[in-house]
């Protein structure tokens, strides 16, 4: 089937660019699927649930990690239009990518589950969209659910967006109910893109994906001029130029075209093999007679959270390196460099945009590359000024300066929490315990409240989200954004086994939390490390000062009482198994520590529970 949308250089007034802002599970992918179907670009029998989410992990977690986009034909009356649906990543760590995707749009569909109401993440992205003056079309989804309460949530959304409750559209993405009307509204309400067709080409990269067969596929939104194949292009942030091998649109399979004009969205392929050569937010122009001013808003991705990743089996180190090399092709924000830990052996210090980015990366490494990994407790980046005025950037507790320091600065974030109002007290308590400063509080409706805090990022990345969820019976949602840095009274706590520091357990914590961290880690390790033939003291220390101590008593008996004819085979097999276990142990000083002890000690209570399931 060929349509109006198959040809490019569509007049801008016939184009509508929009995205869907929604929380995980609120049905964004289902709605996108339904749009593909209703506009006829995917036939019903070829429909695969959630067509746009291509990665397994995305499919399993029900979240979109990497944005996709699609070009759809739509008719309102006799008028033909082209709709570009730009799918945005749905998580807190990818705020920058979200902002770039929003930049490519003139409108946004605010999609909210009619049984759950708006969540913090959605609210944060909505604010981003409002800042960019996008036209917002509020929509309640899942209205066919028995638990749906559309009147209540329509009022809530109207209050937030500043519209009338009856302006909130109601759809069921699952059944398709209301979706056609929604597309009509999109055409009606969203402004057409504007740009100068005769100016030098300028297109913004809003996503960049590595494909094994084609190399990097770069998604762009053309602002001015035109992008045509077989022309050399230039990346304005670096000045690098590339041959343009292919320019195309997605509907939903990639289709090469003769080029893209003002307001159009599509992809280009240059033959580069690494997404870092095609950076999200960068401006693409023509090499000859190119633009001189880039589009605004470009920023280098900057890791916010660091963690050491180590193979459980040391012989997998080269495999881990290879896997990271491959992942980095598709993940411009991922950084890593080799590091060695006395406790964990050879591994990599990896930088991530946030905790989810860390978790997803780790999960992909384990699943797609069949690796078994230990990750150290995540930490943020500290700026330390020593007494002699030297500035040190610390991304690993091991690099914490030994001597006196005059100032330590740590990153802080603005946190938005949405929760039923009954939990306000518990949430305030939790945030206060995590060094949060209350910035403000708003009732979205009678029963739902928005709390705004400024908190150290370090307090968020460990187990804050789990603690928040468990204290609010899962009802609270959280979002945060960078908010600069603050001077803090931080110390490094070391954990010593028989006097030997175990680097993997060192942590940077606030002075007031040092004792708590030290005692809890020491007692955890006392439970986890098997008894040795000698007594093993476990100490927590700040500098040379011991702040907590536990002792693992020496083992006195390790012998099977009975070993007669029928016991011998069983006993030999048991011995062989124990031997294998001991081979996998790491030796700290003279102390044998099973790998599982490191894993258990490094996992938070809730993630240990997850592992058990």
């Amino acid at each position: 089937m060929t349509t109006y949308a198959d040809r490019t250089f569509t007049p801008p007034e016939r184009i509508r660019n929009f995205c869907i802002i929604a929380h995980i599970d609120h049905g964004k992918s289902t709605l996108a699927d339904r749009m593909l179907q209703i506009t006829g670009v995917v036939e019903e029998r070829a429909m695969r649930a959630q067509y746009l989410d291509r990665m397994d992990i995305e499919r399993e977690r029900g979240i979109t990690i990497k944005a996709q986009n699609v070009r759809l034909p739509w008719k309102v009356g006799d008028e033909e239009y082209v709709l570009h649906l730009i799918d945005t990543p749905g998580h807190v760590d990818f705020t920058y990518e979200v902002s770039r995707a929003l930049e490519a749009c003139e409108g946004a569909i605010l999609l909210v589950d009619a049984a759950q109401g708006i969540e913090a993440q959605t609210l944060a992205n909505l604010y981003l969209a409002l800042e960019k003056d996008l036209t917002i079309i509020p929509v309640l989804n899942k209205i066919d659910l028995p638990a749906a309460d559309p009147d209540r949530y329509a009022a809530e959304i109207a209050h937030i967006v500043g519209c009338e409750p009856e302006d909130v559209l109601r759809v069921s993405a699952k059944t398709g109910m209301g979706v056609e009307a929604l597309l009509d509204e999109a055409v009606k309400q969203i402004p057409a893109p504007q740009g100068d067709a005769d100016a030098p080409a300028r297109a913004m990269i809003f996503d960049s994906v590595y494909d094994t067969y084609r190399g990097v596929v770069t998604y762009i939104r053309v602002v001015d001029g035109r992008i045509v194949p077989r022309e050399r292009i230039k990346m304005m942030s670096t000045g690098a130029t590339h041959e343009l091998l292919e320019v195309g649109i997605v509907s939903p399979e990639p289709k090469p075209t003769e080029g893209l004009g003002v307001g159009e969205v599509g992809y280009l392929i240059t033959g580069v093999k690494d997404v870092r050569q095609s950076k999200v937010g960068d401006t693409v122009t023509s090499q000859r007679r190119g633009a001189t001013e880039p589009l605004t808003g470009y920023r280098e991705p900057r890791p916010m959270v660091y963690s050491g990743l180590y193979p459980v089996d040391g012989s997998q180190y080269p495999d881990l390196r290879e896997a990271l090399d491959k992942l980095q092709l598709n993940d411009a924000a991922l950084t890593y460099e080799p590091e060695t830990s006395a406790a964990l052996g050879f591994g990599f210090r990896c930088g991530f945009l946030g905790l989810l980015h860390l978790e997803i990366t780790r999960e992909r490494l384990e699943r797609e590359f069949d690796l078994d990994l230990i990750s150290t407790a995540p930490n943020v980046v500290y700026q330390v000024t020593t007494d002699d005025g030297t500035e040190i950037t610390v991304t690993n507790p091991s690099d914490w300066p030994e001597g006196k320091v005059s100032e330590i600065r740590e990153p802080i974030v603005k946190v938005t929490i949405l929760a039923p109002s009954e939990f306000v007290g518990t949430i305030m308590e939790l945030c206060q315990a995590r060094r949060g400063q209350l910035g403000g509080m708003d009732y979205l409706s009678e029963s739902r409240v928005e709390l705004r805090y400024t908190m150290p990022l370090a307090e968020i990345i460990f187990d804050f989200f789990d603690a928040l969820k468990s204290r609010t019976r899962g009802y609270a949602s959280l979002d945060y954004e960078e908010a600069g840095e603050q001077v803090s009274d931080l110390v490094k706590v070391d954990i010593l086994l028989q006097g030997e520091p175990v680097d993997a357990f060192s942590a940077i914590v606030h002075k007031d939390s040092a004792y708590g961290y030290g005692t809890s880690m020491a007692s955890k390790l006392r439970e986890l490390i098997p008894r040795q033939q000698f007594e093993v003291p476990i100490q927590a220390a700040v500098g040379s000062r011991i702040i907590a101590r536990e002792t693992i008593r020496a083992i006195r008996k390790d012998v099977l009482a009975k070993c007669y004819g029928g016991d011998i085979s069983r006993k030999r097999k048991l011995l062989e198994k124990q031997k294998e276990g001991k081979k996998r142990m790491k030796t700290i000083g003279r102390v044998d520590v099973p790998q599982e002890a490191f894993v258990a000690a490094l996992s938070t209570e809730s993630s240990a529970d997850k592992a058990k399931k």
């Binding site: 033939q533 008593r553 083992i555 006195r556 008996k557 390790d558 012998v559 099977l560 009482a561 009975k562 070993c563 007669y564 004819g565 029928g566 011998i568 085979s569 006993k571 030999r572 011995l575 062989e576 124990q578 031997k579 001991k582 081979k583």
Partner: protein
């Protein structure tokens, strides 16, 4: 020879044994068992060939439950199929409550030379936790009766570190053992085996788990008291009053001997091949009734496995492990263990110290690991 019958099942026991009610309807009885083991002995003779038997050990279960007559009949079959070597050691286990002077007289007449009695403890509350049915004095009396009947060697079994047992209880038990005048004692720390009634009680929190530190202390007490009375350890859990009082049958297990395990679930070893019979008495008897092999499964030991077993078993003996059996890295590890007061190196042999006896499994593991992980 495995006798798979018990009057009742003790809560800590995971042996292949059955009560009368458990066997009801299966067609198994002491007589069908006797018929089956006789058939197996005939098969064994056909496989092994002409080889006189040095030692016989009837264990269980509760061999005394089938009576002296059937125990005699079993021995008669062994005699007629293989013949007993001169001076052969012939042992049967017995539970104190199912023995009497007449029983022991019957054993002597049949040719038994040794009796091993399951005493476990002299403390009534400990016996209760172990579900043992005999009264505290009965085991000592039985040992005396056995000796009076002319059984040359008598062993008493003790279980220590049972939850609820005090140091004084254990001391009383050892003193009772010594008062019986036996020439051999076996003492085992209580092991809570998976799947037993006791394991379930521990899991439910009704019974505290045995404590290894307590067990270590109790072991030392037992060793002190027995040594002072002239009983020397010759294996981690066994003490004897003289070289002649050691259990030759068990030494066969530890020194790579060949043996044929007769009976349901019994394990055998012949020249590097181990096999074991089907466990249930009814299946076992049915196989033999059809002239089929009652073997459930087997393994043929690789040279590495044979080495592992040698190190694992010989190191448990007072005689120790011949250092020539160890390669250079393992010998270096033996030196290290000696420095840590775990081994004594004497006369070309590695012998566990008392501390080493309590940590024997680690010492064995470290010796074997040293060879495996040494750079080539």
């Amino acid at each position: 020879m495995h006798v798979p019958f018990c009057a009742s099942r003790c809560g800590y026991c995971d042996f292949n044994t059955y009560t009368a009610s458990e066997l009801q309807g299966s067609g198994s009885s002491p007589d069908t068992w006797l018929e089956a083991v006789r058939r197996e002995l005939t098969r064994a003779r056909a496989t092994v060939g002409d080889r006189a038997v040095d030692t016989v050990f009837v264990g269980g279960g509760t061999p005394s439950l089938i009576g002296a007559e059937r125990l005699g009949a079993v021995l008669a079959t062994i005699r007629s199929e293989f013949g007993l070597a001169p001076g052969a050691e012939v042992t049967t286990e017995s539970n104190p409550e199912s023995t009497s002077p007449e029983f022991f007289a019957g054993l002597v007449e049949a040719g038994y030379t040794r009796v091993s009695l399951g005493m476990q403890s002299a403390a009534p509350h400990v016996l209760r936790i172990l579900d043992r049915r005999h009264t505290p004095g009965r085991a000592v009396d039985a040992a005396r009766e056995a000796r009076a009947a002319g059984i040359a060697h008598v062993n008493l079994d003790l279980i220590y570190a049972t939850p609820g047992e005090t140091t004084a209880d254990l001391r009383g038990s050892v003193e009772a053992v010594l008062s019986a005048g036996v020439d051999h004692v076996s003492a085992y720390s209580l092991i809570v085996e998976d799947g037993t009634a006791m394991a379930r009680k521990v899991a439910r929190g009704e019974l505290p788990a045995p404590d290894d530190d307590v067990a270590a202390e109790r072991y030392e007490l037992i060793d002190d008291l027995l040594s002072a009375a002239g009983l020397q350890w010759y294996e981690v859990s066994n003490w004897a009053s003289s070289a002649g009082a050691r259990c030759r049958h068990n030494l066969g297990y530890w020194l790579d001997g060949d043996w044929w395990g007769v009976g349901p679930g019994a394990h055998s070893h012949l020249a590097g091949r181990r096999w074991w019979n089907v466990k249930h008495p009814a299946r076992y008897a049915a196989a033999l009734a059809e002239s089929a092999d009652p073997e459930a499964d087997h393994e043929v030991l690789t040279p590495t496995e044979q080495h592992t077993e040698r190190v694992m078993l010989r190191l448990r003996l007072a005689e120790g492990l011949d250092l020539d059996l160890l390669d250079a890295p393992a010998r270096a590890e033996a030196d290290r263990a000696a420095a840590a007061d775990l081994l004594e190196l004497r006369g070309g042999r590695a012998i566990l110290t008392r501390r080493g006896r309590l940590l024997a499994d680690r010492v064995v593991q470290d010796l074997l690991l040293a060879s495996e992980t040494a750079p080539a």
